[in-house]
């Protein structure tokens, strides 16, 4: 016990020099009790830099989705908008954030300011600029694999600014970039997982052996790095599901992937018969009628 007190005292002494006081800002839990308990800070710290890596090349959207969901959770607590900076070539290649899709996940598109830049170095500039403005809730940036400018020094600058003003920074990086050391608080790997099947009342009759899904996204998370130490319980990764109503992550039930027996009854939100598929009226007409 004596050693621990000494270490605590020493930490307090170097904290002002480090200017990253470990517990200055509250951590934001992910929502699932078991998950937060396994995290060193009982969540992701606000006012800190976090990195998200897609597990494979095709998991870019999953990584971004996890980041968006975390930000949606953050926005419930903190006022102010989010700055979302993307390189223009990536916006063409991976698609642009789609506001109705954001709203579906629970993030209010009114509170998102999007920046499109030409060079990766401009992303860092924009993030740094945003981090020194306390009225912002968070900044997020997508860095392509080729972004050489993002090294330890650059990440440290971001982390320091984030700590000073309490604005959380999120960086979505390319898959190949994991080897370099950065000053990020945590680094996550995100992989897609098949979604849970629809509840019996929602699922529709299926053809050709394909089953329906409810659409709540699921991911397999792995914590690759944590400045406050890794929890042994977390190293193998967790399967989480996003609940857009409560804006929280939850751990899906282990047997949730079985199609329930009574799946063919009930209303069908997506009529499959071609004859019943209704053409949609434009909104102007819908209002008029």
């Amino acid at each position: 016990m004596k050693h621990r007190f000494e270490i605590e005292a020493l930490r307090r002494r170097i904290a002002p020099q480090e200017r990253l006081t470990p517990n200055a800002r509250p951590a934001l839990g992910l929502g699932a009790e078991a998950l937060d308990a396994a995290l060193p800070a009982h969540g992701l710290k606000t006012g800190a830099l976090h990195e998200i890596l897609p597990a494979t090349h095709g998991d870019f959207a999953a990584g971004a989705g996890f980041g968006i969901c975390f930000l949606a959770r953050l926005l419930r607590q903190r006022p102010g908008p989010i700055l979302w900076a993307v390189p223009a070539h990536l916006a063409n290649g991976e698609g642009a954030l789609y506001p109705p899709g954001l709203a579906a996940l629970g993030l209010d598109p009114n509170r998102l300011i999007r920046i499109e830049v030409r060079k990766p170095i401009d992303i860092l500039w924009a993030l740094e600029e945003g981090l020194s403005h306390a009225p912002l809730a968070a900044v997020a940036g997508i860095l392509p694999d080729s972004a050489r400018a993002y090294d330890f020094a650059a990440s440290r600058r971001l982390a320091l600014r984030a700590a000073r003003h309490g604005v959380t920074a999120l960086i979505l990086r390319g898959r190949q970039a994991s080897a370099e050391g950065t000053a990020a608080e945590t680094r996550w790997s995100v992989a897609s997982l098949p979604a849970a099947p629809a509840s019996p009342s929602q699922s529709s009759g299926q053809s050709s052996g394909q089953s329906s899904y409810s659409g709540a996204p699921r991911w397999r998370l792995a914590l690759l790095k944590s400045r406050q130490g890794m929890s042994r319980r977390f190293s193998s990764g967790w399967d989480v599901e996003w609940d857009h109503d409560t804006l929280s992550f939850r751990l899906p039930a282990p047997l949730a992937d079985r199609t329930p027996a009574g799946a063919t009854t009930g209303a069908t939100p997506w009529p499959h018969e071609a004859g019943r598929a209704s053409s949609r009226l434009p909104p102007e007409w819908a209002e008029a009628s």
């Binding site: 989705g65 969901c69 102010g80 789609y98 109705p100 899709g101 996940l105 598109p109 999007r114 009225p135």
Partner: protein, 487 residues
């Protein structure tokens, strides 16, 4: 010697002093002139280029007065009312203007008169090339000038000369009614305007702006630091003016006047009205990246003009620390800096649009427009029938074609290939049928009905695919596209 081609052959339009000394004059046929002096150097006149140069000169002259205009084809007018004292009086101003124009290599004739017509006439026809005339002496100076000094049409001038009325003085004091009936009301009005009996309004090149700050430098400045200091002074002056008027600025323009008769303009827009001098100075300073390359021989004057202002109430300075003052307006400095660096089109908010077509259901608006709160949940409910997660997180601006293998013709595909990667479809949901907006003119987009499917592959990745067209309606096999990716 410059010539233009007219119906009657080539005519001389302008000539230099040497040619003038040989007895040539504008309007002469080139053939006649060549006959007299075969060694003439002749070039074609560039009339449009002359006009452009004159406008440029008029703009440059704005460093003396905000009200200037070009008088085609050969002059520039400046309204210097209230400006002369800034340069040490009227004669000093004329002296300075003449020496600057002389340095450009221009031979200028200057005249200063209480009326526009008077100045116009004296600058072109007075015996002196520099002349300042007071109101009482104006008529005396005007009298010996030829009638063409009155800005009249050529026909009227010819008719007056035929009657022996060759000088302006011949018209002064003549009975007005016969003159008006013979030559029209314009001739008399021009005479009255020139003599100051009738008001004439000055139409400047740019409308004047109420809020502007200028400064002149003792020596031309080149370096970015020096320009930065000047910007600091100008923004302070301008913001003091705005403070007095209770206004904030939305658009400003910084003009740096070069010694060689041109200026660099740096326009700037802000997201909210502001009169924060430090903020404006910082924004302008960030625009000075390569200004030194464009400085030429240096800048000798600068002006900062508020192009658009809005009322801005007095505000108490911040008392609390940053956590206490989280107002939306506090975002403005950040947005201004981002817009300043990346351009107004690249810093955007989203705005819903009433359309079922996914690519039209949302659009980006610049943050320079005032922020509005939109009900996205209602919009989403409207466009996707209340289904959760019916729209992807990422949408492609242009749908990308995929090759598919469908089990049944109008069902979802069983496998598809996108960007050379094959995906096995494990789950699919749909179709969601979206009809084209036939009332809009086609803008290169497909006009077919689309059937959208939400697709999940064996790795759990989710895609939004659609079939472009229907099997029963279209002759050829419909193609498949991917339009988005789910989280």
């Amino acid at each position: 010697m410059l010539v233009t081609t007219t119906d009657n052959g080539q005519r001389i339009t302008a000539l230099n002093q040497a040619a003038g000394a040989l007895g040539f004059s504008p309007g002469m046929a080139l053939a006649d002139a060549r006959a007299i002096h075969p060694a003439l150097q002749v070039a074609h006149a560039d009339l449009q280029g002359d006009e452009r140069a004159l406008i440029r000169l008029a703009l440059w002259c704005q460093c003396f007065s905000p009200l200037t205009r070009p008088d085609f084809p050969d002059g520039v007018s400046l309204d210097i009312a209230g400006c002369a004292h800034l340069f040490g009086g009227e004669s000093a101003l004329m002296e300075m203007l003449a020496s600057k124009l002389g340095r450009f290599g221009l031979t200028a004739r200057l005249a200063l008169a209480p009326t526009i017509g008077g100045a116009w006439a004296l600058a072109r026809h007075a015996p002196d090339d520099r002349l300042a005339v007071t109101r009482s002496a104006l008529a005396g100076h005007m009298a010996p000038l030829p009638v063409c000094a009155l800005r009249l049409e050529e026909g009227t001038v010819k008719a007056l000369e035929k009657l022996g009325l060759k000088r302006v003085g011949d018209l002064i004091g003549k009975p007005r009614a016969p003159l008006a009936s013979r030559f029209g009301p314009l001739a008399l009005r021009r005479l009255d305007e020139a003599l100051g009996h009738e008001e004439e309004s000055f139409r400047p090149l740019n409308p004047p702006h109420l809020h502007a700050a200028q400064c002149r430098f003792a020596e031309p400045i080149v370096t970015q630091e020096a320009i930065g200091i000047a910007i600091g002074r100008l923004t302070r002056d301008l913001c003091a003016l705005l403070e007095k008027a209770g206004k904030g600025v939305r658009r400003v323009e910084l003009r740096l006047f070069r010694v060689d008769g041109w200026f660099e303009a740096l326009p700037l827009a802000t997201s909210t009205p502001t009169r924060d001098a430090a903020h404006l100075a910082r924004l302008l300073g960030e625009r000075l990246d390569r200004i030194e390359d464009r400085a030429g021989f240096g800048f000798e004057a600068a002006s900062l003009t508020a192009l658009s202002v809005e009322t801005l109430a007095m505000r108490q300075e911040d008392l609390g620390d940053d956590a206490m003052t989280m107002r939306d307006g506090d975002l403005a400095p950040l947005l201004d800096r981002l817009v300043n660096r990346f351009g107004a089109r690249n810093v955007t908010r989203a705005e819903p649009h009433a359309s079922f077509l996914p690519e039209r259901a949302a659009r980006a608006v610049s943050v320079l427009k005032p922020a509005q709160s939109h009900d996205w949940q209602a919009h989403a409910r409207c466009i996707q029938d209340g289904a959760a997660f019916a729209r992807p997180l990422f949408l492609f601006a242009v749908p990308e074609p995929v090759t598919t293998l469908a089990g049944v013709p109008d069902g979802p595909p069983t496998r598809f290939e996108w960007r050379r990667v094959a995906h096995l479809v494990t789950r699919a949901e749909g179709p969601e049928r979206i009809a084209p907006e036939w009332w809009r003119a086609p803008l290169g987009a497909s006009r077919k009905t689309r059937d959208y499917f939400r697709i999940e592959d064996e790795a759990g990745r989710r895609f939004w695919l659609f079939r472009d067209g229907l099997y029963e309606r279209d002759e050829e096999t419909p193609r498949w596209f991917i339009h988005g990716v789910f989280a």
